[in-house]
């Protein structure tokens, strides 16, 4: 976990230097307490997923369990086609991540390493495009997918998500592409590399870390989406994704909390793993997107 100590290992923390000791202890206690509060919902989710039914539906909930069981998970995986939903979610997310990363890489290269007419206009349009409320476009997209005959297919989820994750991805990748020195590009051309060769064999590997960080956002927004899944996959539930599977257990009047918590755990873990894997790049990437 180098998130914190990335460049601070050598430098003494500037603020900390003049904070008196009792103050620091209080601050550390506050930090730990806050961490516990923030982490509690996740702890409760995992705990409840392992609790036996009797302990979940108890009016005396305890923050531990002495009889962990896989019953809830068995119910989740035993649900019709849950594996199918999981695979669908993975397919959609992976397709969106790869497609939007490649397309965004090309576009970010164009707007950072070339000067051309309309460049600034395009950049502003990418920025504006980030603000478009995805949900408002459900209506026209629904008709678009219907007319294209893509309702009830995974394409109806993949295509819109590529479009919606592109503007932010391009915006964020700019910093990474900019960071590759011009001299390197000149040297590559000097050595006789073509533009395409420079693009894929030199620039692409150098920008890859940034590409990974960018992918987190497209992955999360796609993985989490339930509005499109709900609106575009209307009759063929074999094409559905995880959020819909979760909602099967969540009936407003008498939710199966054990099932909901187990399904939630199954749905959250891949994102957590992905996040932890790329967290360091994520922070430097955000720095690049926010201020470069």
């Amino acid at each position: 976990m180098t998130l914190v100590s990335r460049d601070g290992a050598r430098r003494v923390n500037p603020v900390r230097r003049f904070v008196r000791r009792p103050g620091r202890l209080a601050a550390e206690a506050t930090a730990l307490l806050t961490a516990a509060v923030v982490a509690f919902p996740l702890y409760w989710m995992v705990l409840s997923a392992f609790k036996p039914a009797g302990e979940i539906e108890s009016t005396e909930p305890r923050p531990w369990t002495l009889a962990p069981t896989l019953d809830s998970f068995r119910r989740v995986f035993g649900q019709q086609e849950f594996g199918r939903y999981f695979v669908n979610s993975v397919v959609v997310a992976v397709a969106v991540v790869i497609a939007s990363a490649l397309i965004a890489f090309l576009a970010a290269t164009a707007v950072t390493r070339f000067r051309f007419r309309l460049r600034t206009t395009l950049l502003i349009m990418f920025l504006v495009a980030q603000m478009v409320p995805v949900e408002a476009l459900t209506i026209p997209l629904f008709f678009l997918m219907r007319d294209a005959g893509q309702l009830n297919t995974l394409w109806s989820l993949i295509l819109p998500h590529i479009a919606f994750s592109l503007p932010f991805a391009i915006w964020m990748l700019r910093g990474f592409v900019k960071a590759v020195p011009e001299a390197l590009e000149e040297a590559a051309y000097m050595d006789g590399a073509s533009r395409t060769r420079f693009l894929w064999q030199i620039l692409f590997p150098l920008v890859l870390p940034g590409l990974v960080a960018t992918s987190v956002f497209s992955f999360i927004s796609t993985w989490n989406d339930f509005l499109f899944a709900k609106s575009f996959i209307i009759s063929d539930i074999s094409q559905s994704t995880l959020p819909m599977a979760l909602l099967v257990f969540y009936k407003p009047d008498e939710p199966d909390w054990g099932g909901v918590m187990a399904a939630s755990t199954v749905m959250t873990i891949p994102v957590l793993v992905f996040f932890v894997l790329v967290q360091r790049r994520l922070v430097s990437g955000l720095g690049g997107a926010v201020k470069d």
Partner: protein, 318 residues
């Protein structure tokens, strides 16, 4: 519509787009290459973003309900009829007001929590800092839909631990309008403060330590240092996180939809986004839903233009 507005922005500062030309030596010979690289992005964005926005505007001008969707009846042009109907509807104004207030409350709480914890992070040693960072990353990574169900469960009237700890018996949090909004607000703040915290923390670390030391030597208190030294220096970052939060919180959908079961009892917890969706897909009033969508789009566009102005005033080069 989007294009027009950006053009307006362009015209105000025509010098910008041409100024930094000499930075890329190959720029002069760029020719068609940048457009080649941009082509896939422009095709996708044009087809799945720009075109649907145009369609949204179009649908909002027609009479479009279930009858037209199934193809039985012809669509009739209504002009601004849908908007007239919308603006005459009291519920619309209620929902609009609720959306603005709810988003404002979310933004204020998210920023306050995020900034406070970012400052806190700079004052603690590695272990508590790591703990807080990890917890925040966990909250950040949690999908909105699972976050919503987990918070609902925590505050569940019968089996939730919160009521037990607070001794509230079987008090239902989702029954009352304000307590339901409050519950959603907690979830939204929980999952969106990490972005603010991490970004602001990164910003504070970039502030030169001499500046902070000088302030401390002059006897400035922690609060004073934050207000008079850090906040002005972090202004660019604060602008970004504020605008991002405004945009995200104004568009909250999943949390409201799941936690209040589609907008609360008798629609008391509706926000614009959910309202538009319900009008379109639950009541089959597609054109009314589209009109609400257009209103949202215009509001967010206004926010974006403010953002662009702030960015340009800071002299950020695009």
């Amino acid at each position: 519509m989007v294009a027009q507005n950006t053009v307006v922005v362009e015209h105000k500062r025509p010098a910008r787009s041409t100024a930094p030309a000499p930075r890329t030596p190959r720029g002069r010979r760029a020719g068609r290459t940048p457009w080649l690289y941009l082509a896939p992005a422009l095709v996708v964005l044009g087809g799945l973003l720009a075109y649907p926005i145009y369609q949204l505007g179009l649908i909002s001008l027609f009479h479009y309900t279930q009858a037209q969707v199934s193809g039985g009846e012809p669509t009739t042009f209504e002009g601004l009829g849908n908007y007239r109907e919308l603006f005459a509807d009291e519920q619309f104004w209620h929902v609009l007001l609720a959306t603005v207030l709810f988003a404002a409350a979310c933004v204020v709480c998210t920023l306050a929590v995020g900034c406070a914890l970012a400052v806190l992070l700079t004052r603690v040693r590695a272990v508590p800092r790591l703990a807080l960072m990890l917890a925040a990353l966990g909250a950040w990574a949690t999908p909105a839909i699972t976050g919503s169900t987990v918070w609902l469960f925590l505050f569940d009237a019968d089996f939730g631990p919160v009521n037990r700890v607070l001794g509230l018996g079987d008090h239902s949090w989702t029954y009352g309008r304000f307590s339901a909004f409050f519950l959603v607000l907690l979830e939204v703040v929980w999952c969106s403060f990490p972005f603010v915290m991490v970004t602001v923390y990164a910003g504070i670390r970039a502030v030169p330590s001499e500046v902070l030391e000088a302030a401390a030597l002059d006897g400035a208190s922690q609060w004073r240092i934050w207000r008079s030294v850090l906040a002005p220096m972090l202004r660019p970052i604060l602008v970004v996180v504020t605008i991002q939060s405004v945009i995200w919180d104004f568009k909250v959908f999943t949390q409201i939809y799941v936690m209040t079961n589609g907008g609360g009892i008798a629609g008391q917890n509706l926000v614009l986004n959910v309202y538009a969706y319900q009008q379109a897909f639950a009541s089959s009033q597609y054109s009314l839903g589209a009109a609400i969508g257009v209103v949202m789009l215009l509001i967010l566009l206004a926010v974006t233009l403010v953002y662009l102005r702030l960015l340009r005033r800071q002299g950020e080069e695009l």
